[in-house]
Amino acid sequence: MGEIGVNHFLFLSAALFIIGMMGVLIRRNILIIFMCVELMVTAANMSLIAFGWELNSLQGQSFALFTIAVAAAEAAVGLAIIIALSRRVRTPVDVDEMRTLRD
């Protein structure tokens, strides 16, 4: 592929990774932070694949597949936590429990 070397991809991946990181640091909304982390993971995947491409091995791609799967599981858990939290914030369900919290 001509002039496009692995360093190009690495730079692109670094840029995405760092934009994601800045998002985590700057943003206020939990969901946006979550999306920014996903962006970071994708950037790391890109690095993996780029390195694999450079090394002519499939290990990088396999690794990337695993991270995608892990990210999916993380998304499920994370969003469930967010939902649980939002439910908790909105409805202080039980007066009983508010009392236990105060203790």
Binding site: M21, V24, L25, I26, R27, R28, I33, L85
Partner: protein, 698 residues
Amino acid sequence: MADWLFLIPVLPLLAFGINFFFGRSFRYQAHWVAVPAVLASWALSVAAFLDIRENDEPLSQHLFTWIPSGDFRVDVNLYVDQLTAVMLLVVTTVGLLVHIFSIGYMTKVFDPNEAAHGHADHGAHGAEEKDPRYFLFFAYLPLFVFSMLMLVMADNYLLMFVFWEAVGLCSYLLIGFYYWRRSAANAAKKAFIVNRVGDLGFGLGVMWTFVAFGTLAFYGEDGVFAQAARGVASEGTLTGIALLLFTGAVGKSAQFPLHVWLPDAMEGPTPVSALIHAATMVTAGIYMVARSHVIFSQSTTAMWVVSAIGAFTAFMAATIAITQFDIKRVIAYSTLSQLGYMAFALGTGAWIAAIFHLMTHAFFKGLLFLGAGSVIHGMHHEQDIRNMGGLRKQMPVTFWTFLIASAANAGIIPLAGFWSKDEIIVGSWISEPFPNWGKFIAIVGLVSAFLTSLYMFRLVFLVFFTRPRYDASHLHPHESPAVMTIPLILLAIPSAVIGFVGFPPEDGPFHHFLEPVFSEQAEASQEADETASLYVVAGAQEDGLHQEEATEAEEHEEGGHHVSTRTTVTFGIISTAVALLGLFVAYLTYIAGRIDPVAVANRYQGLYQFLYNKWGWDELYNKIFVAPARWLAMVLWRVVDVGIIDGAVNGVAAGIGVISQRLRHVQTGLVANYALAIALGMVVMVGVYLAAFSDLFR
């Protein structure tokens, strides 16, 4: 004999276990477990002592190997030589008598009938009257005895350190025994924390010893002492080790500047004060230094420090004692002062004299405390001597035993304290390492002896003589029951006569008995020096220096502590005169009324206040240690955790305000800040590493 050495400490441990775990079921009979155990332990100690005196051979028993890793191993061995045998006798004797005394003292406190009798002091805690912790007391006491016995029987520094900590823990538990009293709780905490400072030094000293010698065992071919005597380590190293070890002794034996915990420790039950804070635990530091004398004696600096601190403590504590009004406090400061004597005896190389005084002191100081306990008991928990007086009629046994103990402490002639204290003063006068300094210290010792006599008899006169100053219509002092007076009498006997074991001063049976401990090593060191000098001669390098040292050592040995009879007698007379002078001044002041103490105090108001406030050490420590530590913790927490990381983001002012919205604040504000901390750490680390360790800027 050696095969059942382990029984000596194990029996009290057993008593502890039984009382601690099953004590509830026989709460007021708990002493039936503890006393026989300690009694048996005492009998075994006597047997061990006789065995050693017979055979002149140290006993030792290998229990198990504790940390055998590689070339470093720590064995749990029990080792009993002459020094340990003396300590065993002291600990078990005093321990046994204190156990017996406690039967009377402790039941009385918790006796509901006594509460009905109505003494306001304790009545305030009506709920505690029935506190079933009698058994717990009789669990802690044997535990302490066990730890102390293990401490003196340990044959290596690590084991010693373990039980060094253990006796500290017991002391902590017992000082805070009346934990519902805030002052008791604070005193316990203070004792523990101050001791931790010392222990830290001791721990570092042990570590350094290990680094320097590669072992922690005391004796044997490659033991610490043999190596130290052989000159394996440089003098600087030995000085460092000695000073660090001495830090531990300073903490445990309550020497200046870590002495502040001991007077406060009097918050514990009185028998505890007698056992732990007078007779045994506080002498652990003295014992340890004596045990390590091979290390200490090779470092002039360390010896100097030990003697200086000891002398200062002896003097300072004596001055404080003359102004105090709490009966236990006076005795506590007296303890400090006597410990100071022992320390400077060690520092001037009078090892045997120090141990001699340790022994006599254990008996008469234990007796003093028990007597004080008896007085407090009889006075229904009154401790202020201004509210006593004339008790000799109501409490004759207590009076006579207390008098014997006081006279012994003051150094009145045929009693135990006289012989040992006199020997210390002579020892420092003729001290080889520091001729001039030793003389100075001896004079300080004499001055302190005068003060000792003064405050002891002040106490006796104020408590037992003159007319009663308490409200006689409400308070009826009474003699204590036999279970308390018998230990007093039993302790009074050694307090009076034990001094004669060292009768021809410097040449008594006691000295001959202990001689091997302190001379064997000296011989070894002498040999080592000779061989060393031979080497040096052969190598022909800087031999002069070494030879000088070697000859010096020889001279030291020869000169030793064998003093001319004339010096001994002279000092005997001087000491007696000084002690009698103190007695006389006390008499003039408190009985004859020639000197008005109030007037004196008013005249030298500043000095009096200074002494009364114990030289202000507590306040000083509060200011320079406690407050800043608290402040630092708060600052780190507030500023670093909440302030910088949190506040940098939220703005400090806003940050405080939003705490009300705890949920929102805690929940979200911090997540991003935490991420920020991670990112910051990452960026800084990467930056530093790339700049400093990478090939970028090669």
